[in-house]
Symmetry: C2
Subunit: 303 residues, 2 copies
């Protein structure tokens, strides 16, 4: 009976029948799966916590905006009540400005993000570096400012037990979102700090194409502070920010990539982070069920 | 008077007044400027040759399809009659298939492309590697097949005096068009062959974001066999293939990039290659005039 019921489930957003049964709460394969809040973007913080818990997930990745919507104190209480881990807080960063006043504001905002991560019990604050300032074409200088800003933040983060996670971003975003473009570059940035101070956020969407990435992942040691998964689908949608696909719907070799992450020694949570208009249009429960199925099929066996 | 007339000219596709006067035929600053045929995509081969010549350009970059439209013999005669150099022929490549029969066809087609380049007097055949085969997620294997195919073609190309130019492509195309994603990777591929056999095609659109690219360009020596310029504009259009912009309309630092190309010792032509629906909608003469103005303003001073 259960088998028949399961066979009626469909994967979102594609609509094809589920290829594997949905893992049930208590399934040990779910022990490291985290729902990044932006994957079920229509859910409030409360709904995301409840949705993850109901699906048997032990962790969530949170975003500052929906946390701010309810207020940090309420968010902290709700997270504690849920019993879930917070695998990361998204996001600090956006500190490529060359303007002194804007830079002061950016550092101040990042300190607030560090405080929020500490309050929520998130070990990792994800840093999205930011793009080129308007009209500015000096990419090496913008990258140097990222290194400076990270160095500025390290003492504050260390005191609060928060690791800064630099997220290298697919070069499609180099101009407008993230000037750190490769894992190699992020590791170099991190290397001037301790591994308990600055690490790298490894996201399949951003890094799947990088030449030599598998060997580089294996050599990361304890520098990987977050592992995020989603797929690279083609053709890209008109809004490239929403180009992320459900694992298995695109071109990423999750087996090889995940095995390389595992060989680094990474033992943390695996966040599913998907920005995709079709995923967001689907009911949150179906999104979580699909991502859990795809995770146990394509990712978890290689951890 | 001339200044007044010039001030009425507008740049395409933006529509802003021209920032510098259009260089006239005979202007020494045009001595290395080449019109890639796809920049004036609506022109026939004859119109492109005539349009380039009329604007005082000494060279064109040709594409196989419009050459085939008139037939190779006619194309060769027209090119000779025009007195223009052929800075490159686009394009061979697309040899990532794992299927044996398809691979044989790809190699055969690339040999035909080499013959065409030789007949047209193009020293460089541009190779677009090709993407992942449908359903195939093994990127390292696809990249290895590119290396094998290039090695297969080298003797044939060498006999005909044609250099194979590997074009590393922006990672936005890694899945569906070009699995060689960085200059570093293309140089490594080329390095197993002589510099008169295999080189790299350097395109600002594809490489502007690459960490360390300026130092790498400087160290290229005689490996650069084509320099192509256009801009990275944001937001990307819905069709990422048409994301290229007119120099100056986007985020590329042409001064720094071009100076690094020059320091490599590169002394060849500079092709303007722009795929862009708005550029294509403009009259060819205005496209060529705009690209000549932007070139003498943003690129040529740094050669």
């Amino acid at each position: 009976m259960s088998g028949l019921l399961e066979s009626l489930e469909v994967d979102v957003p594609g609509g094809a029948p589920a290829r594997v049964p949905t893992p049930l709460p208590g399934d040990l394969r779910l022990a490291r799966l985290s729902l990044n809040q932006r994957t079920a973007a229509r859910w409030t913080l409360h709904e995301a916590l409840e949705g993850a818990r109901a699906a048997g997930l032990p962790a969530v990745g949170l975003w500052r905006e929906p946390v701010a919507d309810v207020g940090l104190d309420v968010a902290v209480r709700e997270v504690r009540a849920s019993g879930l881990r917070v695998s990361s807080l998204c996001r600090g960063g956006f500190f490529t400005t060359a303007d002194r006043a804007e830079r002061v504001r950016a550092i101040s905002d990042n300190r607030a993000a560090i405080d929020e991560a500490a309050a929520l019990g998130a070990r990792t604050l994800v840093l999205v570096p930011g793009g080129l300032p308007p009209g500015d074409r000096d990419l090496p200088a913008a990258r140097a400012r990222v290194a400076e800003a990270v160095a500025d933040l390290v003492p504050y983060a260390r005191e609060r037990g928060v690791v800064l996670g630099i997220e290298p971003m697919n070069p499609v975003y180099a101009a407008d979102r993230g000037v750190v473009s490769t894992l190699a570059q992020a590791l170099e940035l991190a290397s001037t700090h301790g591994a308990d101070e600055v690490g790298v956020v490894v996201d399949t969407f951003h890094l799947w194409w990088e030449p030599g990435v598998l060997a580089l992942l294996e050599s990361c040691g304890d520098r990987i502070v977050s592992y995020q998964v989603c797929d690279w689908v083609t053709p890209l949608p008109a809004d490239t920010l929403l180009a992320r696909g459900m694992m298995g719907d695109g071109h990423v070799d999750f087996a090889a990539f995940t095995a390389a992450v595992a060989r680094s020694g990474y033992s943390g949570d695996v966040e599913v982070e998907i920005f995709n208009a079709d995923v967001w249009a689907a009911p949150g429960e179906q999104v979580v069920a699909t991502m859990a199925r795809r995770y146990v099929e394509l990712v978890q066996p290689y951890l």
